[in-house]
Subunit: 327 residues, 2 copies
């Protein structure tokens, strides 16, 4: 059994908990929190909730620690820190800072003889893998990534910070005509506005100036100004009824040409349709936790990304079983 610890019990921590329960070779030992442990109630029978400080001395009880904090402030500190004590997996997704995060985790993990897997999930993660495979197979081509239809939590939060907004759910939606043009193999050049639209469902405070809120959303730099955005004002009952989930998804498409005259076109597409973003992310992380454990058992150490891990390490099946049944 691979003994798992989870640090952080928000949406992602709960997603990992659920994923661990689906893998017969894994056992969730404890959830660690920086809050008071009594205030956290986990859903798996027999699992302890402990303060994060306890991690200082639990190296003999946990094989892989899964870090479920945020990329902005938690993971840059936590992942290197705990990679010096445990095999770790995180879902770090601040793109511009991946090189320095990798370097810090790599150094800590190498010194400790542990494996530290960073940036695990679906993007970065499964989408990254598909960009790599498709680019290696079709060196002359063009990559496209579309997100959605799905809830962007960052964009929803940005709208919630506007005065007069009580709640918001923001959906990112690929433009069907753009998808069609890409799938045709014509390698179109697409602007930000041509690729995605944004749709906001907003609960406003009583008496709030709806026209001002709508205008503030649509003109918000970085988040909305470069997109065609639709704003719907709804009441709390409708929000709860129709927008409680965290669905997401999207696709990575590469189109490229082969042949001595590059006369043949190929389209490679990887797509995800997810009812629950955090549970799917947690499921990807659980598979990479298995890989981290096994690679470390074989004596490997250091920082890893999804690119550095042979696929067989992810599966509970043996090499013989994989060759006989999946190849």
């Amino acid at each position: 059994m691979i003994r798992i610890g989870i640090l952080g019990y928000g949406n992602l921590g709960r997603g990992v908990e659920s994923a661990v329960s689906q893998n017969a070779d894994m056992e969730l030992i404890a959830v660690f929190t920086r809050r008071s442990p009594e205030t956290v109630k986990v859903r798996t029978a027999g699992v302890k909730v402990l303060h994060a400080d306890e991690l200082e001395h639990m190296q003999d009880q946990i094989d892989v620690l899964i870090l479920c904090g945020g990329s902005a402030t938690d993971l840059p500190v936590q992942t290197p820190k705990y990679a010096s004590m445990y095999n770790v997996v995180d879902s770090f997704d601040t793109h511009a800072k991946i090189p320095e995060h990798f370097a810090a985790v790599d150094a800590a993990a190498k010194a400790a003889g542990k494996i530290g897997v960073i940036s695990c999930g679906w993007d970065p993660g499964m989408f990254s893998l598909n960009r790599l495979y498709a680019g290696a197979v079709l060196p002359e081509g063009k990559d496209y990534t579309f997100w959605g239809k799905g809830v962007s939590q960052g964009h929803s939060d940005a709208v919630r910070r506007i005065e007069g907004v009580k709640d918001c759910r923001q959906y990112t939606i690929p433009v069907p005509e753009a998808l069609e043009a890409v799938r045709s193999g014509s390698h179109p050049e697409l602007t930000t506005r041509q690729k995605h639209t944004r749709e906001c469902f907003v609960v406003a405070e009583e008496g709030a100036d709806l026209a001002r809120i709508e205008n503030e959303i649509k003109t918000m730099p970085n988040y909305f100004a470069d997109y065609d955005t639709t704003v719907h004002f709804i009441d709390e009952a409708e929000m709860k009824r129709d927008h409680s989930g965290l669905p997401h998804g999207g696709c990575v498409i590469r189109t490229g040409n082969t042949g001595m005259d590059r006369e043949h076109t190929h389209v490679i597409e990887y797509s995800l349709k997810l009812d629950s973003n955090p549970e799917f992310t947690g499921s990807v992380i659980a598979a990479f936790a298995r890989a981290a454990y096994r690679m470390n058992q074989e004596g490997m150490k250091g920082g890893k990304t999804v690119f550095d891990i042979a696929p067989a390490y992810l599966s509970a099946q043996s090499g013989e079983e994989l060759r006989a049944h999946l190849l």
Copy 2:
């Protein structure tokens, strides 16, 4: 530069030749054939055509030998034989015999200190990888593989063996309703007939009994009897005009559930739309030839499948570049 040799110059050998020309870090040294080398004309300037016997003494000129023979009789002999002299890659696709083929190649490659990659292409190959990744991420779920729309060379050949048939092109076509049911996440149980239909374009000899030919096709065991098959009789001009290509493709779909009550459904789909089956297969093989070379440079040896190869080995980019741009 990675120095490549190709053994066998049929459709696949030509596809590999084209792929090598698209990879700036590879150089095609020679095409090897069991025919008289004078009868073989390759399309890359400066590339020698040599008899296969020359492979006995060219170990210092070739880094990876790509075996482009057939799975029925060529590869079971050739891959172990040449794995004892070179890093090799093949596209062995006789499913039931993969375990014994792997064992033979593994033993030869280990003894010689070389890498032998077997069963490389899109199925087995990229489809296998996607079955593995999706199954590891969603352990509770169901796999579906659809092929087409595309030309099945085995089925086309089977029809050509019928008396009175001059030529045939057979297309395998997924049933749209089956695809839709799978993508809905309802995990349907589908029979062979429910998943694919088959369509044959046949050029008959003058005066042949068309009704007999059609009946022989539709009732042919293993190849057609379990499918709904449509037969069109056409003339040679139409065959040449509309059916000269070798397009193919298909998709691997896994649907699965997550959540403490398995209440959320996810759909993972990987799909290929290929203008040229042999050129795409050759492109996959070229990427894995790079991996074989690099892994061997690092001291690794033995039999490998796509499952055993960390994705980063496939790409011409460095780890730093991959993390900065593709992750």
